[in-house]
C-alpha cells in the first residue's frame, strides 16, 4: 500500500521527494565518511596512549634512581643504564652545539639568497633531499669520512660529527621556512629606520622566527637522540661499565647509548633481561618526551611574548 503511494508520488512529478531522498542519502554518506575519518583520528590517539601505557606498565617497576645512574653489572644482566643515558645526552648535547649555528646560518643563507641564483636553487633542493636521506646513509658516510678518513676512530667525536650532519638539513629547512613567515612590514620597518640588512636580520627577523626555529631544533634533536643508526658504526659501544667521567680522552672513545643498548639487547636475546629492556625503553621515551615538552613549552611562551 505504502509502496504504491510512494511510487505514485514519484511518478506524479514528485521531484521534491526525490531530492529529499537524495539529500537524506547524502547526509548519510556524509555522516558515515566523516565518522570514519574521525574514528581514524581517534584510533591514532588511542594508539599513542596505548603504546605509552604498555611501556609504562612494563617499564615503571624497573625505574629507580639506581637504574638511572648505575652502570650495568654481572655481564649486563643486572644494574642500571647510567652510562647509556649519559652517553645519549652527551651525544645529543654535542650535536646540538655543532648543528644549531650551522643549521641556523645555513637557513639564513637560503632565506637571504635563495631563489636568486641557480646554485642556491640547487642547494635548496639538495638540502631538502638530504633532510629525507635515511640515517643509515649518514652512518655509512660518517664511517667512511670521520672514522676512517680522518682517523677519529669509533669515538664520541665521530658520533658528534655524524649526528650534526644528520640534524643540519632539517634545521636549515626549518629556519628557512620560519624566516619566511616574518611579516614584510617588520623587516621593511627596520630597513626604513636605517638598519642595515644584517642588523634587520639579527635584530628583527631572527627574534621573530626564534620560536619556530627552536621548536624545530629541539624536535630534530629528539629524533637524533632516539635514532641508533647514525651512531651505530661511528660512536657506539654495547658493553660499558666505565665510570661516567669526562676528560679529553672521552672524545676519542666510543660511548654507550640507549638506542644501541636496546637494539643489541633484542639482537642477543637472553643477555639483557626483559625487565631491563622495558626499563630502558621507558627511559628513552621519557627522554624524548622531555625534549618534546620543552619544544611545546618554548612555543607557547614565545608565542605569548610576541602576540
Amino acid at each position: 500500500m505504502m509502496d504504491t503511494v510512494r511510487s505514485g508520488m514519484a511518478r506524479a512529478g514528485g521531484w521534491e521527494s526525490l531530492a529529499a531522498q537524495r539529500d537524506a542519502r547524502r547526509a548519510r554518506t556524509n555522516a558515515l565518511l566523516m565518522g570514519a575519518f574521525g574514528a581514524v583520528g581517534l584510533a591514532t590517539v588511542l594508539l599513542v596512549l596505548a603504546l605509552v601505557a604498555i611501556i609504562t606498565y612494563h617499564g615503571a617497576p624497573t625505574l629507580s634512581w639506581e637504574f638511572l645512574t648505575q652502570p650495568p653489572r654481572e655481564g649486563m644482566s643486572a644494574g642500571g643504564v647510567g652510562p647509556m643515558i649519559f652517553g645519549s645526552v652527551l651525544l645529543m648535547l654535542g650535536a646540538f652545539l655543532m648543528a644549531t649555528p650551522l643549521g641556523v646560518f645555513g637557513g639564513v643563507c637560503l632565506a637571504e639568497y635563495g631563489e636568486r641564483s641557480r646554485l642556491m636553487r640547487l642547494m635548496h633542493a639538495s638540502v631538502a633531499a638530504l633532510a629525507g636521506t635515511p640515517p643509515i646513509v649518514y652512518g655509512l658516510f660518517g664511517l667512511a669520512i670521520f672514522v676512517l678518513k680522518f682517523h677519529f676512530g669509533v669515538s664520541l667525536l665521530a658520533g658528534w660529527c655524524t649526528l650534526t650532519l644528520f640534524c643540519v638539513p632539517s634545521i636549515v629547512l626549518i629556519t628557512e621556512s620560519a624566516l619566511k613567515t616574518v611579516p614584510a612590514a617588520l623587516t621593511d620597518g627596520g630597513l626604513a629606520l636605517g638598519l642595515s640588512r644584517w642588523q634587520t636580520l639579527w635584530r628583527i627577523a631572527l627574534p621573530y622566527a626564534l620560536p619556530g626555529i627552536l621548536t624545530g631544533v629541539i624536535l630534530s634533536l629528539g629524533r637524533a637522540v632516539g635514532e641508533a643508526t647514525p651512531v651505530l658504526f661511528t660512536a657506539s659501544v654495547y658493553y660499558s661499565t666505565a665510570e661516567t667521567t669526562l676528560s679529553w680522552e672521552t672524545l676519542r672513545q666510543p660511548v654507550a647509548n640507549l638506542p644501541y643498548y636496546l637494539a643489541e639487547g633484542y639482537r642477543q636475546p637472553g643477555v639483557v633481561p626483559e625487565r631491563l629492556i622495558w626499563g630502558a625503553c621507558l627511559t628513552l621515551i621519557l627522554l624524548t618526551l622531555l625534549l618534546n615538552a620543552g619544544a611545546i613549552l618554548v612555543r607557547y611562551r614565545m608565542r605569548r611574548r610576541y602576540l
Binding site: 547524502r26 547526509a27 556524509n30 558515515l32 565518511l33 566523516m34 575519518f37 574521525g38 583520528g41 591514532t44 594508539l47 599513542v48 603504546l51 605509552v52 649555528p101 650551522l102 643549521g103 641556523v104 646560518f105 645555513g106 639564513v108 643563507c109 642547494m123 633542493a125 639538495s126 638540502v127 631538502a128 633531499a129 638530504l130 629525507g132 636521506t133 635515511p134 640515517p135 643509515i136 646513509v137 652512518g139 655509512l140 658516510f141 667512511a144 676512517l148 650532519l165 643540519v168 644584517w198 624536535l219 629524533r223 632516539g226 641508533a228 643508526t229 651505530l232 658504526f233 638506542p259 637494539a263 633484542y266 639482537r267 628513552l284 624524548t288 618526551l289 618534546n292 619544544a295 611545546i296
Partner: protein, 493 residues
C-alpha cells in the same frame, strides 16, 4: 659606525660559511658514497670442484663430495698465494716437472670395495688464492688406477663444491684432457663445467704399477678463463638473487634485499597514506580548535617515539600474534617478517603523514571551502570534490616523503624482519602468504647488521656501500620529486 660594519661583516661571513659548508657536505656525501663503493669492485670470484676417480658401480656417483678419495680443486680465501716457477700455464709440463707443481692433484682409484677406500692419495686438494684466476688459472689433475685395483673400468666424476654455484662464476670453466697415457686410444675430452657442472665420463682403465709410472697417467686440466671484466661481473652479480657474503663462495646479489625493502615500503605507505589523509581531513575540517590543539602535540609525541622502541613493540605484540595465526600452517619459528615489519612501519609513519597532510589541507584557501559550502555541498562532498583536488600536489608530496622515510628506516626492519634474505614469491596464494609472514631482510638492516663485523675496505665492505648508494639514490629521487610537488603546491595556492 665601524661596529655596525664589523657586525654586518661577521653575520654575513657566518652565513656564507654555513652555506659553503652545506654545499661541501652535499658534495662530500655523494663523493664518499661513490668512492667507498669502489672496494666492491675489488672482489674475487672463487670457484671449486670436487673430482674423484671411481669404480663404475661407486655409490658416490651422485655425491662426489662424500667420496673419501675425492679431491678439491678450488680458489677461495683459504687458498695459498704461493706459485712456483714450473707453473707456466701455456705449455704442457714434462712428467718429471709435474711432481714439483703446487697445482697438481691426483685422482686415483684403488678398490671397488667401499669399505677399503682410503683417502691417502698423493696430492689431494689444491686451494689457491682467487686473485690469480683473473688472469686465468689452471689446475692439473693426474688420474690413474693403483696396482691393487681389481675392476676393469674406471669413471671420472665431478661436481661443484658445496655452496658453489657455477652460474655465479664469470669464468669459462673447462675440464680438458691434455694428455692420455701411452698406448691408450681415447677421443679428445673437453667439458664446459658451467653448462655441465655435475657429471661423469668413463675412461679406459690404466694402471700405474710403480711410483714413476704415476706421472704417465691421464693428465687433465681444469682451466678458468675470465669472460668479462671484473667490474662488469661485479655489477652483474650485484643484480642477482642471492645474498650470502660470508660463505666461502661469496654471493653478492642484492635483489632479495631490494625487493623486500620495496615491498615493505609499498605495503606500509599504501596503509598509512589513506588512513593518514582521513585523519587529517577530520582534523582540518571537522575537529574543533580545542581538539586540534590537543591533537598536534600527541601526534608529535607519537612521531618522536624512537624506532627501536616501536620495533620492540612489534616483537612483543605483533610478531607473536602473527605466529599464532599462521605459525602451524606455515611452520614459522617466529612471526617476524615482512608483514610484521610493514605494520609497525605504518605506525611509525602514520603521525608524520597525518601532521603533514593536515598542513597541506590547511593550505587550501578558505574561499574554496566557502564557495563549496555556498553551493550546498555536504562536508564529505566538499572534501572529495574541492578540498582533495586542491590539495593534491601537497598530499602527493606527503606520500613521497613518507615513502622515503619508510624506505630508509633501519631499526624497525633490523629488529622485526627476521634477518634471512628471501626472494619474494607470489606464484601461488600460499607462496604469497609465506612471503608475507616468513622472515626476510631489507637493504638498511643488511648494512646495519653486517657493517658491524666486516673487515674495513674489503669487497664486502664495498658492497655494503653499494647498497647504501642504491638506498641513497632511491630516496634522493623520491625526495627530489617530493620537493618539486611541494613547490608546486605552494605556487598553485
Amino acid at each position: 659606525m665601524w661596529r655596525i660594519r664589523l657586525f654586518d661583516t661577521l653575520v654575513q661571513a657566518a652565513t656564507w660559511a654555513a652555506g659553503g659548508l652545506l654545499l661541501l657536505t652535499i658534495v662530500a656525501v655523494f663523493y664518499y658514497l661513490f668512492t667507498e663503493s669502489h672496494y666492491a669492485f675489488q672482489r674475487h670470484f672463487p670457484f671449486g670442484f670436487r673430482v674423484a676417480l671411481q669404480p663404475p658401480d661407486s655409490e658416490y656417483r651422485d655425491e662426489v663430495s662424500m667420496d673419501p678419495t675425492a679431491s678439491l680443486l678450488a680458489t677461495h680465501r683459504e687458498g695459498t698465494d704461493e706459485l712456483d716457477d714450473a707453473e707456466d700455464i701455456t705449455r704442457l709440463p714434462a712428467p718429471e716437472e709435474l711432481m714439483a707443481m703446487q697445482s697438481l692433484v691426483t685422482a686415483t682409484v684403488q678398490t671397488s670395495d667401499p669399505n677399503q677406500l682410503r683417502a691417502d692419495a698423493l696430492f689431494r686438494d689444491c686451494m689457491r688464492a682467487p686473485k690469480r684466476a683473473e688472469q686465468g688459472e689452471r689446475f692439473l689433475l693426474l688420474a690413474f688406477a693403483l696396482p691393487n685395483y681389481a675392476g676393469d673400468r674406471m669413471v671420472l666424476a665431478w661436481e661443484p663444491d658445496v655452496s658453489f654455484d657455477p652460474a655465479y662464476c664469470p669464468y669459462a670453466l673447462t675440464l680438458r684432457l691434455i694428455r692420455a697415457p701411452q698406448g691408450v686410444q681415447i677421443d679428445p675430452i673437453e667439458i664446459d663445467l658451467r653448462r655441465q657442472p655435475k657429471g661423469h665420463i668413463e675412461l679406459p682403465l690404466w694402471k700405474a704399477r710403480t711410483q714413476d709410472e704415476w706421472l704417465q697417467g691421464y693428465l687433465f686440466e681444469l682451466e678458468a678463463r675470465p669472460t668479462t671484466s671484473t667490474t662488469m661481473a661485479t655489477l652483474q652479480q650485484f643484480l642477482r638473487s642471492d645474498w650470502a657474503p660470508t660463505i666461502l663462495y661469496a654471493r653478492f646479489g642484492m635483489l632479495p634485499l631490494l625487493l623486500a625493502t620495496l615491498l615493505i615500503t609499498l605495503l606500509s605507505v599504501a596503509l598509512a597514506t589513506p588512513l593518514g589523509i582521513a585523519a587529517a581531513v577530520y582534523l582540518s575540517e571537522q575537529a574543533s580548535p580545542r581538539i586540534r590543539e590537543w591533537f598536534k602535540p600527541i601526534l608529535e609525541i607519537l612521531a618522536s617515539i624512537p624506532t627501536v622502541v616501536l620495533g620492540y613493540f612489534g616483537v612483543m605484540l605483533i610478531a607473536p600474534a602473527l605466529q599464532r595465526m599462521f605459525g602451524e600452517a606455515l611452520q614459522l619459528s617466529s612471526g617476524r617478517g615482512l608483514l610484521a615489519t610493514a605494520l609497525i612501519m605504518t605506525v611509525f609513519i602514520l603521525p608524520t603523514v597525518i601532521s603533514l597532510s593536515e598542513d597541506a589541507l590547511r593550505a587550501v584557501p578558505n574561499s574554496l571551502r566557502e564557495g563549496a559550502e555556498a553551493l550546498g555541498l555536504t562536508l564529505a562532498e566538499r572534501v572529495r570534490l574541492v578540498l582533495l583536488p586542491a590539495a593534491k600536489s601537497g598530499l602527493i608530496a606527503v606520500a613521497l616523503l613518507a615513502t622515503a622515510r619508510v624506505m630508509g628506516e633501519t631499526m624497525i626492519v633490523w629488529i622485526l624482519s627476521g634477518g634471512t634474505p628471501t626472494m619474494p614469491d607470489f606464484s601461488s596464494p600460499v607462496a604469497a602468504l609465506g612471503t608475507l609472514v616468513k622472515p626476510t631482510r631489507g637493504i638498511p638492516d643488511t648494512i646495519a647488521i653486517e657493517m658491524g663485523n666486516v673487515e674495513f675496505e674489503s669487497p664486502h665492505y664495498g658492497h655494503l656501500f653499494l647498497l647504501g648508494l642504491v638506498l641513497f639514490v632511491l630516496t634522493l629521487g623520491i625526495n627530489l620529486l617530493g620537493f618539486a610537488y611541494r613547490k608546486r603546491a605552494q605556487v598553485s595556492l
